[in-house]
Symmetry: C2
Subunit: 152 residues, 2 copies
DNA sequence: CTTGACCTTCCAATGATGGGAAGCCCTACT
DNA sequence: AGTAGGGCTTCCCATCATTGGAAGGTCAAG
């Protein structure tokens, strides 16, 4: 086991946190690492390369399921280019529709701002609009599937 | 208690699911509803109006915390317009930065597609790029805070 | 031989929502 | 009057990626 690294080193060089490396192992995204006699995980340069692949895919917003599929394709020499493309294409169109939703929210909010005095008076067109029963506030239901945990 | 409605009716007319109405009550976003002798929740038209306000704000992507603040302002006649504006402004800039991230992911993916043959051959520039140690794939770390649960 | 930095596992929380089970309530129909 | 059904109740669990912490074992240097 020459050239093996601890999880901390693997985390530092791959950009994936040690926590997440253990997590990815537990959920089966990556293979279980070899261990020292003391139980420490050991990572080869090839493992770290895989971790980098995972991080880059996450940076592009791929889900863990997508990445699992991409990893399989990556390690399979007989893969067809179009299979990879299918995964990436699905992700891309999801991104595009998410972008469209966000832009429609931005537009609606900017519209609400148009008449906002931004002063000490209690009159506020933004609240008026939210309270207006005739206004569906761009009714497209957004909710959980597209993730507004804290930022949207 | 004339003019009172069950949670199902309130859900249907407000557009907020019964599940979520109970949830909002539990987390304190809305006040606990009155109950019948049998324990059924009862909603007045004013309650339903509040629920509509909540739904519209959610449709605009406001977080529950934001909405809680907006509700307080809405029910407070001495509010200052600028306080509402502060909440909405914070949300708007969060939306804008999220939009920017998504567009950078879209751009990166579209770039990967440029040389993709989309055929049966095993050669795939998308995977090559993900595996390329020299390529940080737009290193801006995205992750949990901006929500890619299933779509990104 | 201690100290401190690292590693281990396990459990919990985030945020908004959905799903389901087990059981009570109410109305309508036989 | 009894029953079928639908709606209501509470409680727990799952999602998704990630972080945090606690309790404890290991290793290297001082």
């Amino acid at each position: 086991m020459k050239h093996s690294h601890t999880i901390g080193e693997a985390a530092a060089t791959s950009g994936v946190s040690a926590k997440m490396i253990r997590h990815y192992e537990k959920i089966g995204l990556i293979e279980a690492a070899d261990r020292t006699d003391a139980g420490y995980r050991l990572y080869t340069p090839a493992d770290i390369h895989t971790l980098r692949f995972v991080r880059r895919a996450r940076n592009l917003g791929f889900s863990v399921d997508d990445i699992s599929e991409l990893l399989d394709l990556w390690k399979n020499d007989t893969r067809a280019s179009k299979d990879v493309r299918r995964v990436a294409d699905g992700h891309l169109s999801a991104l595009r529709s998410k972008a469209a939703e966000i832009h429609s929210m931005i537009d609606a909010l900017e519209h609400l701002f148009e008449n906002c005095t931004n002063d000490e008076r209690p009159d506020c067109p933004i609240l008026k609009d939210l309270a207006d029963d005739a206004n569906p506030a761009r009714p497209k239901d957004v909710g959980h599937k597209f993730g507004f945990e804290r930022v949207c």
